[in-house]
């Protein structure tokens, strides 16, 4: 079960957002896609999760193509996309937000068990169950969004800039949580991040995007030590 992307090209209106991008993420690996703003990272993720169509190329998960499918169908098949902007529904309660990914599942017992696991993982959510999601802090919302995704027992997790707008301490917490989840739940994760340092520290593999094209693909460790990467993205 791997995520294989080949020659993916995506247009955003008249702009070619992603140009002939190819990479592979093996099962159980955490790959991070880093790059400056406007590199097309979010567009790439949205295409992998079915929210957007690609112009050409292939992408497959577990041997089956994931392009041209509806987002809700991909979500039901184990691909969870936690989109940016703290994707929670502010008008609904924390409890209702968490319930969304379990609505369509037949095994209600497992949904309940998964929900409990998520509350164990993020105890603060358990304390705020009946509050509206809009009243949560940024970090709490991020936990809620990730928690909701986890309840669906995904196999492939697409995370879009989870650290955006969060305090460094919370970011550290969330990154560590993601890292441990990969091992615990045998997840495959694609983590899009602007916080290149933090992301590369927890990742196995790094993919550097610039203006829609792949510039570098290597193990995260090598990228951390690569002088070009360091000066461009890590600030030293």
């Amino acid at each position: 079960m791997s995520l294989i992307v080949e020659g993916l090209t995506i247009d955003h209106g008249a702009i070619r957002a992603i140009n002939n991008v190819s990479f592979k993420v093996a099962q159980g690996q955490l790959a991070t896609i880093i790059g400056a703003n406007g590199a097309g990272k979010t567009t790439l993720l949205r295409t992998l999760s079915g929210l957007k169509d690609a112009a050409s190329g292939n992408a497959s998960w577990n041997g089956a193509s994931i392009l041209g499918k509806r987002a809700e169908d991909l979500a039901r098949s184990g691909i969870m996309h936690v989109s940016d902007g703290k994707s929670v529904i502010a008008e609904l309660s924390v409890k209702d937000n968490l319930a969304l990914t379990g609505l369509w599942r037949k095994d209600k017992k497992d949904v309940a068990a998964a929900t409990n696991e998520v509350i164990e993982l993020f105890p603060i959510l358990g304390q705020r169950m009946s509050q509206s999601a809009g009243s949560l802090s940024g970090g709490e919302r991020q936990m809620l969004a990730i928690g909701r995704a986890l309840i669906a027992r995904p196999k492939l997790l697409l995370l879009d800039e989870p650290s955006l707008g969060l305090a460094p301490l919370i970011v550290e917490q969330i990154f560590q949580t993601i890292k441990s989840l990969v091992k615990k739940m045998d997840l495959t994760v694609v983590l899009v991040e602007q916080n290149a340092m933090g992301a590369l520290k927890i990742a196995d593999q790094g993919i550097v995007l610039n203006l829609g094209s792949v510039v570098l693909v290597d193990s995260a460790e090598k990228l951390l030590n690569d002088p070009a990467v360091r000066s461009a993205y890590l600030g030293f």
Binding site: L51, A71, E72, A75, A152
Partner: protein, 298 residues
């Protein structure tokens, strides 16, 4: 004193019917971001179907059930086979905001033309199943009858059922989530398209009920529900278009404003009161009473 009581009761009664229409419109708006002018056509069409049932069987109650069910079916069909293809076609350009609304206007005309063709244009009537004589209270007859009571009770039951549906069931949560954020709902695995069609079905059922409750006090002709649509729309806008609760509140405000104005000031103020009530509320809160503060991408 009796005048006051009568005014209150008739306000409740007309407010209740406005509420049904407003609910239907808000349901469609929340799920589809469209003002469904065709709701008037759907409502009157289901009432004609109810009329035919009465002609054949003589039973108002059976007609009521049939009207509500057919309203749901027609609503679902319209979303699935009319609105969805239109949304697929119209994706860009300034027309995006206006096209669906105009399409519903066109649909309204078509429905009314078809009705005229099948049933003719002369006024028909549906008899009220219960007495329309005013009750006697403390020796005086007030302008509130069993029929008015039926309207109030029916709408109250309908609202109760809807509240339970939306707040206590999984389907209700799916409906709400899809209305607030279709994208997050889809990423959570909710089939947003099917949910939207369900929203239209519920709206159709609500307007079907509205029609069968409204017409017995009135006449049945293809344009019979146009006015009710306008008032339902105004009520929904007063309430903010975003919440079902707001729709009911808006309808009550409208009902009370109009009834009190026409009772105590002048019968001619029927329409101007609606306009003024709407204007006053919108000037104070441009998004309606319970409208959301953030700017939604309409």
């Amino acid at each position: 004193m009796t005048q006051f009581i009568t005014a209150v009761l008739t306000s409740l009664s007309s407010g209740a019917i406005y509420a049904l229409m407003a609910l239907a419109l808000v349901l469609v708006w929340r799920s589809t971001r469209v003002i469904n002018f065709a709701q008037a056509g759907q409502a009157v069409l289901t009432t004609y179907i109810g009329y035919t049932v009465i002609q054949r069987t003589g039973s108002y109650w059976l007609a009521l059930v049939v009207a509500v069910i057919s309203g749901a079916i027609i609503g679902a069909v319209i979303d699935r086979f009319f609105m969805r293809p239109i949304f697929k076609r119209i994706k860009s350009g300034p027309i995006v905001m206006i096209a669906p609304v105009v399409a519903t206007l066109g649909l309204l005309g078509i429905i009314q033309a078809i009705i005229g063709f099948i049933w003719g244009l002369t006024n028909q009537a549906i008899e009220s199943p219960v007495s329309t004589d005013g009750y006697k209270v403390l020796g005086k007859v007030i302008a509130f009858s069993s029929y008015n009571l039926l309207v109030l009770v029916s709408v109250a039951i309908a609202m109760l059922l809807l509240t339970i549906l939306f707040q206590k069931t999984n389907i209700g949560l799916a409906l709400r989530a899809s209305a607030y954020s279709p994208e997050i709902a889809r990423l959570s695995g909710i089939k947003v398209d099917a949910v939207r069609t369900l929203g239209w079905a519920i709206a159709g059922a609500a307007s079907g009920l509205a029609g069968m409750l409204y017409i017995p006090g009135y006449f049945l002709f293809p344009n019979a529900m146009d006015l009710l649509l306008v008032f339902g729309f105004i009520a929904a806008v007063i309430g903010g278009l975003e919440s079902l609760f707001g729709a009911v509140v808006g309808a009550m405000i409208l009902g009370f404003a109009i009834n009190f104005a026409t009772t105590y000031v002048s019968a001619q103020l029927f329409f101007p009161t609606a306009f003024i009530a709407l204007l006053v509320i919108l000037l104070l809160k441009p998004g309606g009473l319970f409208g959301s503060k953030k700017v939604r991408n309409a």
